[in-house]
Structure formats: C-alpha cells, structure tokens
C-alpha cells in the first residue's frame, strides 16, 4: 500500500542553522501539508501546498519557513535559522484532492532537535 515517507527520522542541529526536512508524498496525490507537534502539545497545521504554491499557512509559518517541491516526488520544508522552540516532530501529509472528504495520509514524522 502506498505511504508517505519522511527523511531523516531524527535531525539534530545547532541553533541558527538551516535544516531541510524531506517528504515523499503518495505518487498520485496533489495536495501536500506540513504539521508539527511540539512534545506534549497539540499537532498544529503549518502549511498546505498545491500546484507549486502555498494554498494556506498558519501564523506559525513565518519567514523562517519555506516549502518547495523541487522535483516530481519530493516535498521539502526548510527552516532557515532554527530556534530552540522549533524542536518538534514534523509530519508531512498528502491527499489526492482538496477538501475534507479526501483523507490526508501522514508520514511517520521527523523529530527535529535544536540545541
């Protein structure tokens, strides 16, 4: 069964460094998402992406964050200058179409630790 994959599973970085989190969505899906979960807190929406454009973003998704689909398979989240509070689990998701009737399939997550 197709699934969303994410690499790396765990990333450790120094404060101020740039990180790129990678995701491979399910191949026929057109909508892509990033969520994050700070330890012990809610899963929070960051951004949704369709047709090479951001379709919606949250207030968390500030200028330090960017997303890209660099090729036909990868979907990346870049954090330009990491802060301690960026430490979290980052989940990628994809769906075939937009709208609530289309299930979002989640990847296993990347644990980001900022020291």
């Amino acid at each position: 069964e197709p699934e969303v994959t994410q690499t790396p599973s765990h990333q450790v970085t120094q404060m101020g460094q740039e990180v790129i989190l990678r995701c491979v969505p399910i191949s026929n899906h057109l909508y892509f998402y990033w969520y994050r979960q700070i330890l012990g807190q809610k899963v929070e929406f960051l951004v949704s992406f369709y047709n090479n454009e951001i379709s919606e973003k949250s207030e968390i998704f500030d200028d330090q964050f960017s997303v890209e689909r660099p090729d036909g398979s990868n979907f990346t989240l870049k954090i330009r200058s990491t802060k301690l509070e960026d430490s979290a689990m980052y989940f990628c998701a994809s769906s075939e179409w937009a709208g609530a009737s289309n299930e979002q399939f989640f990847g296993p997550g990347t644990r980001l630790t900022v020291l």
Binding site: E3, Y31, V43, E44, F45, S55, E56, S95, A100, Q104
Partner: protein
C-alpha cells in the same frame, strides 16, 4: 477560530471491554468534518473514522463508532472489544468541508490492559 478539546489526557481499558474517548469542538460553521486519528508508538497517524456534519447517522467502522451530537458540539469515539493493538494516542480533529487544514485536539493516550 475553531478549537478541539479532548478532556481526557489518558484512559485505560481492559482487553475485550469497551471504552469511550471524548471530544468537543467549537465552530460557527455548519459544514465540516470530524475525524479520529490513531497514532501508535511508531508515530504514523492513521485515520480511524470520519463523520460529515450534515449526516445525522453516526459513523461506524468495525469496532469503532462515534456518537456525534451536533447541537452539543460533541464527537466521542467508542471502541468495542478493545484489543492490545488499540493502544495508542488518539486525536480528534476537525476541518471545514472545503478546507484542508486539520485542527487537532491535544490527544488521549489509550492504554489497553491484558
């Protein structure tokens, strides 16, 4: 703004018994969807069940069913005949019918005792 509240941080159930996880939400919209996601220790979230707000009939998926009370903005998950594999974090989530953003509750850890 839409919010989702799960008031039970942790629940326990004996194997083969039934457990109900609570969820309430706040929205001024009339067309939306509600979901329960399961996040096992491997941490990949899996959709368990979904409910369209316009449907009065409660959704069921095998041993999983919901009690959807639209007026009360309540959406509880009932797991019947609990199994060890049901042990996980369960998240209640909401989205608008034509939206993409999922709004999650804080989650409930379900422990299943043998």
């Amino acid at each position: 703004a839409q919010t989702v509240t799960q008031s039970q941080p942790e629940m326990s159930v004996q194997e083969a018994e039934t457990v109900t996880l609570s969820c309430t939400y706040d929205t001024s919209e009339s067309d939306y969807y509600l979901f329960w996601y399961k996040q096992p220790p491997s941490r990949q979230m899996i959709l368990v069940i979904r409910q369209e707000a316009y449907k009065q009939q409660n959704a069921t998926e095998n041993r999983f069913s919901v009690n959807f009370q639209k007026a009360a903005k309540s959406f509880s998950l009932k797991i019947s005949d609990s199994q060890l594999g049901d042990a996980a974090m369960y998240f209640c989530a909401y989205t608008l019918e034509y939206g993409n953003k999922l709004v999650f509750g804080a989650g409930t850890i379900l422990r299943v005792k043998s």
